[in-house]
């Protein structure tokens, strides 16, 4: 406890917590849409692409690597969406190829060109998140902050359209909604969320951050709005708990957060079962 209070007196710790909570908040918002549109595997594929991009950025020694990762991931999201429509190339196979390919190339690049002394540690921290988000630079904190706000604002402005496109795309299209545009918007937001979440939990654990809150809330709540709100609260709570526990116990932040998500998911399952 004392340790925690001591930590909290440092401004960078407080920033990290704020950023962590914001990222958790954003990544929960589109969870329902992703799960129900069967796009969750896109999220998974994209996170591996983001890893590949990160490897390139670190080889090129670019200090603010988000500037590379973000455009690459957004582009990959748009490509995957286009592939998904094209029946000739199976959507999920395309995603599998892209994601495994980026993982392999990413690791190859890091292995061959990285000058860091602790390569295994480097790779590990990009896959599972840095041991602590406290190591984020000031610029990345600011960037995270801006991107999170962007995601939240876009989500609120397009909430009703996202609902309609998720629930019944045919109807939405027939009554004049430009569904293609909104699918694209959803893909771009996912890409942004993934780049954000990579800072918090690393590229392998991102899906957990997106899917756990939505899956848990869907077991208990019955309307889209209630599920969305519950996901957000769920995610923020777990992120907060995870970060604090990781500070006290000295565990890796990303893994701790995801572990909290998993435990809470179990709890929601029990509540859902009782309610039935």
């Amino acid at each position: 406890m004392e340790l925690l209070i001591e930590y909290l007196s440092y401004p960078f710790v407080r920033y990290a917590i704020i950023v962590g909570v914001l990222i958790a908040f954003c990544s929960s918002l589109l969870g329902v849409t992703l799960v129900l549109k069967r796009m969750s595997y896109i999220g998974d594929g994209l996170s591996h692409v983001a890893f590949g991009a990160l490897a390139i950025a670190s080889v090129l020694k670019i200090t603010n690597n988000t500037l590379i990762i973000l455009p690459v991931t957004v582009l990959a999201a748009i490509l995957l969406l286009a592939f998904g429509k094209n029946a000739a190339i199976k959507g999920d196979a395309a995603i599998a190829m892209l994601s495994v390919g980026s993982l392999a190339f990413g690791y190859l690049l890091m292995n061959k060109f990285s000058t860091a002394s602790n390569l295994a540690g480097d790779v590990c921290s990009t896959l599972f998140g840095s041991t602590s988000i406290l190591t984020l630079s000031k610029e990345s904190v600011l960037l995270c902050f801006i991107l999170s706000i962007f995601v939240v604002v876009v989500f609120i402005l397009f909430y009703n359209k996202i609902f309609a496109v998720t629930f019944d795309e045919t109807f939405a299209k027939a009554t004049g909604v430009r569904t293609g545009m909104y699918n694209l918007l959803i893909a771009v937001i996912i890409a942004v969320i993934i780049v954000l979440a990579m800072n918090l939990v690393g590229s392998l654990l991102i899906s957990a951050l997106v899917i756990f809150p939505a899956m848990a809330s869907m077991r208990v709540f019955k309307s889209f709005k209630a599920v969305t709100v519950s996901s957000a609260v769920f995610s923020v709570f777990c992120a907060l708990a995870g970060i604090i526990i990781s500070i006290i116990a000295g565990t890796p932040t990303g893994a701790t957060i995801v572990a909290c998500d998993a435990v809470m998911f179990g709890l929601f399952c029990v509540v859902g079962a009782i309610r039935q």
């Binding site: 129900l36 609120i156 009703n160 629930f167 045919t170 027939a174 009554t175 019955k222 309307s223 209630a226």
Partner: protein, 235 residues
């Protein structure tokens, strides 16, 4: 010019032509029943009229009709089993085409949605989860949504499927009233008795489809035959 005109439509799928050279004009205020056997291409035609798919040949021309003025009831709404959506949220989403760049629904739209729910007797289910409703209740919710979307044209694909006799009667009454107020109705249905009673035009889909006025259709030998067949099949 007609509200919706089909010009030399060839309808089908890449390796399957269902019928060729279908032309017709639907004018404002028409009440069209689309009839025909299973698998003849009624749903495919409706999806083509809506621009959801391209015809193999020919074109659909509309005059002064925006997509956001159309209400559409699909034959099957493939909603994933787990979708968490309340009845209210779904009915309200009928207005989504008219949102444009506005992010939220207006108070007036919320009121209209409530009226639509009342009309189909699902207002007391407003906060229930759609996936927990019976098939007929789900159909009524989707009808209420369609009603919210439609200001000029109602396109419905087998709207009475799954409705009980009372709700069916009420439904036809409601549609008739809307039609009298100027709404154009295009309805796919196997209910020949209702077609006889309410339609202004019949579009009979088969190998060579026909679009004719109701009286002319039922007076013709072919129309007579089909309706007797259909009614016997039903009873």
């Amino acid at each position: 010019m007609a509200l919706i005109s089909a010009k030399d439509l060839t309808i089908g799928y890449s390796d399957l032509v269902l019928y060729r050279d279908l032309s017709f004009d639907i004018n404002e205020g028409d009440y069209v029943f689309v009839i025909g056997e299973n698998g003849t291409g009624k749903t495919t035609l409706m999806r083509t009229l809506l621009g959801l798919r391209k015809p193999l040949n020919g074109e659909v021309v509309t005059d002064g009709l925006k997509l956001s003025e159309i209400g559409y009831l699909p034959q099957q709404t493939v909603v994933q089993r787990d979708f968490p959506a309340s009845v209210k949220e779904i009915v309200l989403s009928g207005f989504v085409g008219r949102l444009g760049f506005k992010p939220f629904y207006t108070g007036k739209q919320k009121k209209t949605a409530l009226e639509a729910m009342k009309r189909f007797g699902v207002d007391d289910l407003a906060s229930r989860c759609y996936r927990d409703l019976s098939g007929g209740q789900q159909q009524r919710v989707l009808l209420a949504r369609t009603l919210c979307a439609a200001t000029k044209v109602l396109l419905m694909d087998e709207p009475v499927a799954g409705l009980d006799p009372f709700v069916t009667e009420e439904f036809y009454g409601l549609v008739e009233k809307l039609n009298r107020e100027g709404m154009t109705i295009i309805m796919i249905s196997h209910d020949i008795a209702a077609a006889k009673k309410y339609a202004s035009h019949i579009l009979h889909i088969k190998n060579d489809p026909r679009f004719v006025e109701k009286n002319e259709y039922f007076a013709s030998g072919e129309g007579n035959e089909f309706s007797i067949l259909a009614e016997n099949g039903e009873g």
